[in-house]
């Protein structure tokens, strides 16, 4: 597979505290990769290592199949979790400065800034100082600064935690668009639902170790338990229930329905498919609802973490 970013066997300790213990991830090109884990798992440390802010004790980072080089910073855009701007500096001047630090020429930076400022409808802010802007406004500026130099790799640390809902939606939209344009996005989060929405790939880090990683759909397939939610109307419900309980593992289910149904959660054997169940039910009841239960990332997360413990 064509990976833009590869982290190989990364170790990092701070004194006696182990932040990363043999963590490896592969981030495929032009994908959205979610780095999941509870607070304090080591996500930020890994992102900082990729940004060359801290050095790993052991292990190597490869960008484009080459070991990471100091000049690679211009190929990476980073929006840290702890983000801010110079309060008493003007927006435009500040954005120019930070863009130039990323290797853009002044003229180029200015041109791109004008494009982005127009796009996000913040052109009037050029000569305003950050302290005059609201927090949400400053967040837009920070986002522009992160993507301005058109990096191959975009790294967002907890992008949705600090942002207000309007900006969070904007970022989601822009992330997907940047992906369409060929950028690779790596972001960390402890909010599982954002992974469902955005990510093609994910890795789960817990207590400095990587517990699992891979394509989100693959992981879900792996974690699904061949379980179906069924809603149906039968003439003799107790008899049907008894019959089902003999053949399958049956539990109660709750879901919304306009019918007064028998709602069940039915787990099949590994060698059985949905058709088995349907065949069995089709002559015995009126089926109104039939859905495969796909584990949410949250379920997978909790399952993995508790299993690990």
């Amino acid at each position: 597979m064509d990976n833009l970013l590869v982290a190989e066997n990364i170790y990092k300790t701070f004194g006696n505290y182990t932040a990363l213990n043999n963590v490896s991830i592969n981030v495929p090109r032009a994908s959205v990769f979610g780095l999941l884990g509870p607070n304090g798992a080591g996500k930020t440390t890994l992102l900082r290592i990729i940004n060359q802010i801290t050095m790993p004790d052991r292990g190597t980072i490869y960008l484009d199949n080459k070991p990471l080089h100091p000049d690679d910073i211009q190929h990476i855009g980073y929006l840290p979790e702890e983000r801010g701007l110079y309060k008493s500096m003007k927006v435009g001047e500040q954005a120019l400065y930070l863009a130039q630090l990323k290797g853009l020429s002044k003229a180029e930076a200015k041109q791109r800034l004008e494009y982005w400022f127009e796009k996000l409808e913040i052109s009037g802010w050029w000569n305003k100082k950050i302290q005059e802007l609201s927090k949400g406004m400053a967040q837009k500026v920070q986002f522009v600064i992160t993507v301005l130099h058109k990096p191959k790799l975009l790294i967002f640390d907890e992008p949705f935690s600090g942002f207000d809902p309007v900006n969070a939606r904007l970022i989601k939209r822009e992330i997907l668009q940047l992906k369409e344009e060929g950028a690779t996005i790596l972001f960390s989060t402890h909010r599982m639902e954002s992974v469902e929405e955005l990510c093609d790939y994910m890795a789960l880090i817990h207590k400095s170790k990587k517990l699992l990683d891979g394509r989100v759909s693959d992981i879900k397939k792996e974690y699904k338990s061949n379980t179906f939610e069924v809603g149906m109307e039968a003439k003799n419900e107790p008899a049907l229930l008894a019959e089902l309980q003999q053949k399958f593992i049956v539990g109660n289910a709750t879901f919304k329905s306009i019918h007064t149904d028998l709602k069940l959660r039915i787990q099949l054997q590994e060698n059985e498919s949905a058709n088995h169940l349907l065949e069995f039910l089709i002559n015995r009841a009126q089926i109104n609802h039939f859905v495969e239960v796909i584990p949410s990332v949250n379920d997978i997360f909790i399952q993995t973490v508790t299993r690990d413990a």
Partner: protein
């Protein structure tokens, strides 16, 4: 390298555009000039006041000895009764009354001074000396010694000072050297403290603004630290240059508008200095020109840079270690202490003996050498001592910048952790 330049530029502009910087740059010389004018005015007021002192001399031998001066006038009340004289002095609000009683055997009794408030030290000394001189002369006369012969026999000694190469200098020479060295040393300390603090505050600002992580994802922390230190030093030099120019202009304007001719006041001062001969004056001026002014200036810049880099990298590390300025207190003393030590050593040891052991040692120790060595330079320092001192300063600088950058690198990303010395030591190993 390109980034370092960008950072230096930003840091310089951030300092220079700061409102406080602008206000202080232009206000300080005004305040200074204003202060000089106030002091001048007050001392003028003081010296124009004339004191009138009553004299009640029962012996009648001193009246001719108390001569009126510019600031004092003596009135003889000896023809009145003592009580009346006392009342008169009080009614007229004179400065005081000198009472010289006569004992029954003709000797002078306990001399007393009556006044609303205790007299100034100068007044008392004048009174004591006048009376003592007269009494000494009387005593000599009584013992049959010819006073005029004695006065004629008095020999005045004036030691002429030369150095080994035969160059003559005035006795003022050492004072001038002291003043030049002292000003240079003191100025250096002030600049280090003021601009070191600026560096520290700027680091804390970046930390509290949380922009730091955005920046260090683009540049190396050590570049940011160096850029900050360099940019701030340029701001310092800018301020210094503005002061020099502004000070000169303001001095010229004030002396012009007040109609004070600088040359004439100088001449007056020279006259007041007494019998300073014309040759002495030219020697005095020659002394100033004979000072190693150029090398003093060059070494001021070198030691300023050396000392400033040393201290401001420590300041930067402190700024990185804390979360707010209030937490810096515990680290401030160890920074200020060597600077104060340098100043004290300078003002006591160097003035006493510029090339003594203490002065020499402290002009080698890198933390105090910029101040102490600057104070020694006007007295002439052998080149090998300068070389040792500067090499030590350079090596220490490299070491301290390296250590400071390690603390800085860890500290800037560390929030909410109370920085202790133990903690800082651990950071060095990260």
């Amino acid at each position: 390298m390109r980034n370092l330049k960008l950072i230096i530029r930003r840091e310089y502009l951030a300092r220079v555009r700061n409102k406080t910087f602008i206000i202080m740059t232009f206000l300080s010389p005004l305040i200074l000039v204003g202060m000089f004018m106030l002091v001048g005015y007050l001392s003028m007021l003081n010296s124009s006041e004339q004191q009138i002192i009553g004299l009640y001399d029962e012996t009648g031998i001193f009246s001719s000895d108390f001569k009126d001066g510019r600031q004092v006038q003596y009135l003889d009340f000896s023809n009145l009764s003592f009580e009346k004289a006392l009342v008169k002095v009080r009614e007229q609000e004179y400065y005081g009354l000198i009472y010289i009683p006569e004992k029954e055997n003709g000797d002078v009794g306990q001399i007393q001074f009556f006044g609303l408030e205790p007299p100034g030290l100068g007044t008392v000394q004048t009174v004591e000396k006048t009376i003592s001189d007269r009494l000494t002369k009387r005593e000599l006369m009584l013992r049959g010694i010819d006073i005029s012969a004695m006065e004629a026999a008095e020999v005045k000694v004036d030691v002429e000072i030369q150095n080994f190469s035969g160059q003559r200098t005035s006795k003022m020479s050492n004072y001038i050297k002291m003043i030049f060295g002292g000003i240079a040393g003191y100025l250096l300390m002030m600049f280090i403290i003021i601009y070191g603090n600026m560096v520290m505050r700027s680091v804390i600002e970046e930390k509290t603004n949380r922009i730091i992580e955005i920046i260090v994802s683009s540049v190396k922390p050590i570049h940011l630290m160096l850029g900050k230190v360099l940019g701030t030093s340029l701001a310092g030099l800018t301020q210094f240059s503005i002061w020099v120019i502004l000070g000169a202009v303001l001095l010229w304007i004030t002396s012009f508008t007040l109609g004070i001719d600088i040359l004439s006041t100088q001449k007056e001062q020279m006259e007041m200095m007494g019998q300073m001969a014309q040759s002495d004056l030219s020697l005095f001026l020659a002394d100033v020109y004979n000072l190693p002014l150029l090398s003093l200036f060059v070494f001021f810049v070198i030691y300023f840079l050396g000392g400033y880099f040393l201290y401001s990298s420590i300041y930067a590390a402190i700024g990185a270690a804390v979360d707010s300025e209030t937490d810096t207190q515990q680290f401030m003393f160890p920074v200020i202490f060597p600077l104060m030590l340098g100043i004290y050593v300078g003002f006591f040891a160097v003035i006493e003996n510029p090339h003594g052991t203490i002065s020499t040692i402290f002009s080698m120790i890198p933390l105090t050498s910029p101040i102490v060595m600057l104070m020694r330079i006007p007295f002439g320092v052998p080149w090998y001592e300068l070389l040792i001192s500067l090499s030590l300063l350079l090596i220490t600088n490299l070491g301290v910048i390296w250590l400071a950058s390690k603390i800085y690198r860890v500290g800037i990303l560390m929030y909410g952790k109370k920085a202790t010395y133990k903690e800082l030591f651990k950071w060095l190993k990260y």
